[in-house]
């Protein structure tokens, strides 16, 4: 018999819910079958810990005396976006200090950026803030230099437009001579390595391939605290090709998430430097999946063997959008330490920490078992495979005549 969110939450509150991780669910469904597993298990927890570039923090410092409407803000020399109301500003994870040499001396080091500011704030470290403004009658002040600390802010929350990518491509390098420096790490020349970045069978959206339980309002684990899905993520692409088990065969669904940074931990929200590429935010995220029926039991029992990812050449085909995948490989193959591409054995480089993903799924499980974390029924589900929503590319329309059409 199908269960409702209310049934499951009642069990959680009574301390009677059966909660297992997505890894544990594999064995349960293999042994008991999906029907029995659906009766027995109430919630499956998932987890992932990986660089997620499309992340950032919304901050509000409270008003200065005299008042000021920030027009430009820097945090530890990293620019933030202040084109909002007076003392609201947003710092993006990939932003760099203006004087960072970037890739001028390639490959650049990218030692510090927006993601590191976010990590510093979460760690409770003071951050140097500089702000500029033009004066108005209501906001006369023009400049500010101060230390700020997360404890003194009105709000500090992560507001990440695209996280938890449902599957992702595997990066290889067909260039025979040159290592390449990408957001997938250093990819070694001449099929010298293959980078992948997904927790596979533990990954949140791979355990609910059609988003039957994930949508606006889904309560989740974010950086060690509680967060929520606020909308579909940018580039959410539910119509990506799917395997027979419903699992997308490449990057597909994404979620926009929000969560209070005051609850987070700096070992789960980590500024990272991608050599020769830039700065990103490595983030821990986990979603609890209610086992409403037999289908959900089957979906959450997905295993690495049954999830495939496309192998893409990042030396040419990916950046210039030429050609297609060189093939598909499963996460079981990726995690075996090497894959085969064009008949050659290529060692694999993981970017996503499976050990941390396991720890997140485990911690979320404990929260639910302890009755501290209830599941939320989404106000609206994410667009799914039947939505017709695809993945557009920019149709460039150059303008001449000074933009007069």
């Amino acid at each position: 018999m199908p269960k409702t969110y209310a049934d499951i939450n009642a069990k959680i509150q009574a301390g009677k819910a059966v909660v297992v991780t997505a890894e544990e669910m594999i064995g349960i469904v293999e042994e008991d079958g999906a029907a029995k597993a659906a009766e027995r298990v109430d919630v499956v927890t998932t987890g992932t810990f990986a660089p997620m570039c499309s992340s950032g923090a919304m901050l509000n410092t409270g008003h200065t005396t005299p008042r000021m409407r920030f027009t430009k803000v820097w945090l530890n020399e990293v620019p933030a976006y202040a084109g909002l109301a007076a003392v609201d500003f947003y710092i993006g994870a990939t932003e760099l200090p203006e004087n960072d040499p970037r890739n001028r001396n390639h490959p650049g080091l990218f030692s510090y950026g927006g993601a590191h500011v976010i990590e510093d704030l979460i760690a409770g470290r003071d951050v140097r803030m500089v702000a500029e403004a033009y004066p108005t009658d209501c906001y006369p002040r023009q400049d500010l230099e101060t230390l700020i600390n997360i404890g003194d802010l009105n709000q500090a929350y992560l507001l990440n437009p695209r996280n938890a990518y449902q599957n992702y491509g595997v990066a290889v390098n067909l260039n025979e001579d040159r290592d390449i420096y990408t957001y997938m790490g250093v990819v070694q020349a001449d099929l010298g390595s293959a980078s992948f970045c997904s927790a596979g069978q533990l990954s949140p959206m791979l355990n609910d391939p059609y988003y039957r339980t994930i949508g606006i309002g889904t309560r989740l684990y974010l950086g060690g605290g509680v967060g929520y899905v606020y909308f579909q993520g940018t580039q959410h692409n539910p119509t990506e090709a799917r395997a027979e088990n419903g699992v997308p065969m490449g990057g597909a669904g994404t979620i926009g998430v929000v969560g209070d940074m005051n609850q987070m931990r700096s070992d789960l929200v980590v500024g990272v430097s991608m050599y020769g590429y830039g700065v990103s935010l490595a983030l821990g995220l986990g979603i609890p999946i209610p086992i409403l029926d037999e289908d959900m039991a089957r979906y959450t029992a997905v295993k690495d063997e049954d999830i495939v990812a496309p192998v893409l050449d990042y030396s040419r085909e990916y950046p210039y959008r030429e050609g297609g995948p060189l093939g598909h490989v499963s996460y079981a193959q990726l995690k075996s330490g090497h894959i085969e591409v064009r008949g050659r054995k290529v060692p694999t480089t993981p970017l996503s920490s499976y050990v941390r993903a396991q720890a997140i799924a485990e911690e979320l499980k404990e929260w639910i078992q302890a009755g501290e974390f209830l599941l939320s029924q989404p106000a609206e589900l994410l667009p799914s495979a039947d939505s017709g929503q695809g993945f557009k590319s920019l149709n460039e329309r150059p303008f001449n005549n000074g933009g007069v059409v």
């Binding site: 810990f49 990986a50 660089p51 390639h106 490959p107 080091l109 030692s111 001579d177 040159r178 290592d179 790490g185 250093v186 070694q188 020349a189 010298g192 390595s193 980078s195 070992d267 980590v270 500024g271 990272v272 430097s273 991608m274 050599y275 990103s280 490595a282 995690k335 075996s336 330490g337 060692p347 694999t348 480089t349 993981p350 970017l351 996503s352 920490s353 499976y354 050990v355 941390r356 396991q358």
Partner: protein
């Protein structure tokens, strides 16, 4: 016989010259290339162990330096900041000696300082910069 662990930096103009084989022949050396790569500025970087008598090694390195090769000994110590390491595994393929390795069963990433030759290749590659040069 002695061995030297060194990093050789070749200027762009020299990349195609068979420097190493020349040195090996002239000074009767043994060698083991741990890693070689060419940077985008076309500088060649090679981490290698050379074996030979002390005199031959000195002469060979002097010879190479005169030809324009920059040579650095490998003598720093590399440490891993365990609090910073996320055990992602991004460093594993870069490491020439398997001092950094991933356990394929548990997915834990281990660092064995005894196997580390301090080539520093992992230092900029580690995303949270957990691999550090101890001075």
């Amino acid at each position: 016989m002695a061995d030297r662990r060194i990093v050789m930096h070749f200027p762009p103009t020299m990349i195609d010259e068979p420097i190493i084989s020349g040195l090996v022949k002239t000074y009767d050396l043994g060698f083991n290339i741990l890693r070689a790569s060419i940077t985008p500025q076309q500088e060649g970087v090679m981490v290698l162990v050379l074996e030979g008598t002390e005199d031959a090694l000195d002469a060979a390195l002097r010879d190479a330096q005169e030809k324009g090769v920059r040579i650095e000994p490998l003598e720093m110590e590399i440490v891993r900041d365990e609090d910073k390491c996320t055990e992602c595994g991004a460093c594993v393929n870069i490491c020439p000696t398997e001092a950094l390795a991933i356990d394929l069963q548990t997915r834990h990433v281990t660092f064995d300082p005894d196997k580390c030759i301090a080539c520093e290749l992992c230092v900029p590659v580690c995303p949270p910069r957990a691999m550090q040069i101890a001075l």
